[in-house]
């Protein structure tokens, strides 16, 4: 095999196989089209890959688990090998999860691989989303792919939550109870939705089986469909690349799929899988045997959901006291509805952001060169505000742990978080925008005046100056290659009317681009260089004179 794989001979094994497959599948054309497709290289492009590979690991480890897991809520008395629970009443689901952990070789390992890769999947998808946001990769033509990715992120959370509840342990059972309580808070239909999901009263005997169907069939199938769409569009659009010399909206610079990218990306799959395996080998996750089976009366203090549900739990905790009210005989559970609405609005803004920005800039061209975050200060600031909002909600899910670990008053921690939720996003917006603008000014300064050489010269009239040296053209181009937008005024349309939407757009454009920093132009650079030459000449003259 080894000799055929390097240089396929005319009638060798590889050539024969290739011919066989091509005559039946037409694989030659596919390979011609895609074999040398160019993929740009950057570490931040691997975040999406991590998510993709974690999903593959989830499919593999999940399949293993289905062979041993029994999603039944029938009651049983535990007779397995874990001594502390011997003789305890529990569901078959919980007992089979214990058996996977303690009686199947590699069972605990696979459970931990599955759980860790689920945590990693959502984390990597989230970071990938942030990368796409902060670099403006969602701009035309990729707006729809942003929405597809957004759906994938939500599906990831759904997959996580449905899976988290399957072992029917105390921790996840309390999680379900919270879901039940939230559903009941929905006006008109809440009780029916809850009864429908749980098959009657909470907890009932149906929920684990139903979540199992969702978790192993519907949700992963949807993820696969959207993943296929996501990657299909990736191929259609070709990958973006960062701005820099030689990188344009009309080209793509990187490595060919075969062999470099196949080796790197294929190798990276094994690295991600290996990293998950390593973590799963050494670090326990979700030790369900410590919690016991689900029982509605006990609960452990300091309970935490998996990290990606944290922000929703935090939203529930941060709702102010006493905001539930009655309309006649009917109860409006504002303390549940408010967090629900806030989370949904937050998600909705994330989903439609590309369309908003596109409407404001009115730039209908295709964008394949990524922005450095500093070069889109308002967008970056909006992102920072969003991240901060999410982070406060997320930290809100740990108010009790923060209070106990730092020996603070729980009430004060919670009230501070409530204030932080409103105030910090504005702070983050302001600070981030200022930092971006300052970095842009610095870039502009360096581009125009060159880099500081460290050479201080005293001129004959006593003035001290530092000599600046011009940048190398490639380095210079990195500092000036970005897209510049300016605000617009509300203008009348063809009928001579200034419409409401054009007013909104005008004020949004002001919000975005009011304090823009334009990239340094060649004229500015030349003028500065000219000025520099004059100083240099003066310096030379001074040196001559001193001799």
């Amino acid at each position: 095999m080894s000799n055929t794989s390097t240089t396929p001979k005319k009638n060798g094994f590889l050539a024969g196989t290739a011919n066989y497959v091509d005559e039946r599948v037409g694989v030659g054309g596919i390979l011609k089209e895609f074999g040398r497709k160019i993929f740009p290289d950057h570490w931040s492009f691997m975040l999406g890959e991590v998510a993709l590979y974690s999903f593959l690991v989830l499919l593999l480890s999940g399949t293993f688990l289905t062979f041993f897991f029994d999603p039944s809520m029938a009651e049983t008395i535990y007779e397995g090998s874990y001594a502390p629970l011997k003789g305890a009443h529990m569901s078959v689901a919980y007992s089979s999860s214990l058996d996977i952990s303690f009686e199947v070789r590699g069972g605990l390992l696979m459970r931990q691989v599955h759980h860790w890769s689920a945590l990693l999947f959502v984390a990597a998808a989230g970071l990938h989303m942030l990368r796409v946001f902060f670099t403006g990769a969602f701009r035309k033509p990729r707006e729809l792919n942003w929405v597809v990715g957004f759906v994938l992120f939500v599906l990831g959370m759904a997959a996580g939550f449905t899976g988290y509840s399957l072992p029917d342990d105390l921790l996840s059972g309390n999680g379900l109870r919270i879901i039940d309580g939230m559903m009941k808070g929905v006006p008109f239909v809440g009780t029916s939705i809850s009864a429908g999901l749980f098959g009657g009263e909470f907890p009932g005997t149906a929920i684990v089986g139903r979540l199992y169907s969702l978790h192993i069939m519907l949700v992963p199938a949807l993820i696969l469909v959207f993943l296929a769409l996501h990657l299909f569009m990736l191929v259609i659009h070709k990958h973006t690349h960062y701005s820099g010399p030689g990188k344009k909206d009309t080209n793509v610079v990187g490595y060919p799929l075969m062999p470099v990218y196949v080796a790197k990306a294929g190798g990276f799959f094994f690295i991600v899988f290996g990293a998950i395996m390593l973590i799963a080998t050494f670090f326990t996750i979700n030790p369900i045997w410590n919690y016991g089976g689900y029982d509605p009366s006990p609960v452990s203090a300091g309970t935490q959901p998996d990290w990606y549900i944290g922000w929703l739990d935090g939203a529930l905790r941060l709702a102010p006291t006493g905001i539930e009210f009655m309309i006649g005989d009917y109860t409006v559970s504002t303390n549940i509805l408010l967090p629900l609405v806030v989370s949904l609005v937050f998600l909705a803004i994330v989903a439609v952001y590309p369309f908003i920005e596109n409407w404001v800039t009115g730039d209908k061209r295709e964008h394949h060169v990524l922005d450095r975050p500093r070069n889109a200060p308002t967008r970056t600031a909006i992102g920072a505000a969003g991240v901060t909002f999410y982070a406060v909600l997320w930290a809100g899910a740990s108010t009790d742990l923060i209070a106990t670990n730092f020996k603070m008053s729980l009430n004060q921690v919670l009230v501070s978080m409530q204030i932080a939720l409103i105030v910090l996003p504005f702070v983050a917006f302001f600070v981030t925008k200022r930092i971006c603008l300052a970095l842009q000014r610095k870039d502009r300064e360096i581009a125009i005046h060159g880099r500081e050489s460290g050479r201080i010269v005293r001129l004959p009239h006593g003035e001290y100056i530092e000599v600046h040296e011009p940048l190398e053209p490639h380095d210079l181009y990195k500092l000036v290659d970005f897209k510049d937008y300016k605000p617009t005024l509300a203008r009348p349309n063809a009928q001579g009317k200034i419409t409401f939407s054009s007013r909104i757009r005008a004020s949004l454009s002001k919000f975005y681009f009011e304090d823009r920093i334009a990239p340094a132009t060649q004229t500015e650079i030349d003028e500065a260089a000219h000025h520099n030459h004059e100083i240099e000449a003066e310096v030379k003259k001074a040196i001559e004179a001193s001799k």
Partner: protein, 353 residues
């Protein structure tokens, strides 16, 4: 497209000769710095020196060999470290060695392949032209032609009656598919208003089910309580327990703030409150003795036990429902009746009689 974009100066980059898109608020600088083109390629040591190249080959080979050894070790561990039923250490060893073997098997391939790509495969960046995503004008015209032809042949626009009835049919056909989910769960509304507590039901300890004598409850002690006779294994045990769980505390009677109506609901300072949080239903399991506060560990709703379990903090709004209790002839604590309101999280029509 917005109304005012017509007034904007159309500035179209010459690169976009394929199709002229609006540039909106974009500023095109006439004297922008010219693109100097790709940075010069940096030659790697493995390109320059045969020694380095050979080293890299050895390293990649070694990594692949490590992978093989790792996988082989995982196979060996599967048999060499079996799980001995009841021996938790054997579970640990099995997980550890199997996991380590597989990890090496995976890392070896991964790191090897990436190292191979980075050191030995060409690292020249390649430039490829992009084309606009939209089809060319000819392609679009051809597509429209196809659609028009399909429309003509089917009469989709022309035959209004067919088209509208088709819309109707398509709108209705999913409905049976939705309605068949109607039997997912029975209506539970009435059940939410009643629990397993009946007049005379003894208060029993959770989980052993022993009834509680009033005289055994000392001041400051807390009992987790269920109705007597509700035992694990009973039909609907968890559903009943999810509503009937009660927390029993004895405080100094002088500290109790009781309304006239509820004065008879406690017994010598012993009060019983639903343990199910009125926020989203977690068990309110933490009792702080010196403040008499009950705390829900899920979302930190805090209830004042001596003041009718009113909410003093956190997202809950309603007080925990109180279970009216007294003692029977033998001195055991019993319920006077069921709770007087639905327990647990709020629902839309909970106050409707």
């Amino acid at each position: 497209m917005s109304e005012d974009s017509k007034d904007l100066v159309k500035q179209v980059d010459s690169r976009y000769s394929e199709h002229e898109y609006e540039t909106g608020l974009r500023v095109i600088h006439e004297d922008a710095v010219k693109d100097p083109g790709l940075e010069p390629h940096r030659v790697r040591m493995t390109d320059k020196s045969v020694k380095h190249e050979k080293n890299a080959v050895r390293q990649v080979t070694l990594l692949f060999v490590i992978s093989m050894l790792g996988s082989a070790f995982a196979l060996y561990s599967y048999f060499a470290f079996p799980i001995v039923i009841g021996d938790m250490n054997s579970v640990r060893m099995n997980t550890l060695f199997l996991g380590l073997g597989i990890t090496l098997g995976l890392f070896g391939i991964g790191v090897g392949a990436v190292h191979w790509a980075k050191t030995l495969m060409p690292d020249n960046e390649v430039t490829e032209e992009r084309h606009l995503t939209r089809g060319s004008d000819e392609k679009r015209a051809a597509a429209i032609e196809i659609i028009n032809l399909a429309n003509q042949e089917s009469g989709f626009s022309r035959r209004k009656l067919i088209r509208r009835t088709l819309y109707g049919a398509l709108a209705l056909f999913p409905l049976p598919g939705l309605i068949i989910f109607g039997d997912l769960g029975p209506n539970v509304n009435d059940k939410l208003r009643h629990t397993a507590w009946k007049p005379g039901t003894r208060l029993a300890r959770d989980p052993n089910g022993r009834p509680i004598k009033a005289s055994d409850v000392t001041v400051g002690s807390v009992y987790h309580v269920v109705p007597e006779g509700l035992m694990p294994g009973d039909h609907g045990y968890l559903e009943e327990k999810a509503k009937a769980a009660v927390l029993l505390v004895r405080v100094d009677p002088s500290e109790l703030i009781e309304t006239e109506e509820r004065a008879s609901w406690s017994y010598q300072g012993i009060v019983a409150y639903s343990k199910i949080c009125t926020h989203v239903g977690c068990p309110v399991a933490l009792y702080e003795q010196h403040t008499h506060h009950l705390l829900c560990p899920c979302h930190q709703s805090t209830f004042d036990l001596v003041d009718g379990c009113k909410v003093v903090f956190g997202p809950a709004t309603r007080a925990l429902p109180q279970l009216p209790i007294t003692v029977d002839a033998e001195g055991y604590l019993i319920a006077q009746s069921d709770f007087n309101e639905p327990v647990g999280p709020s629902f839309w029509d909970r106050s409707v009689k």
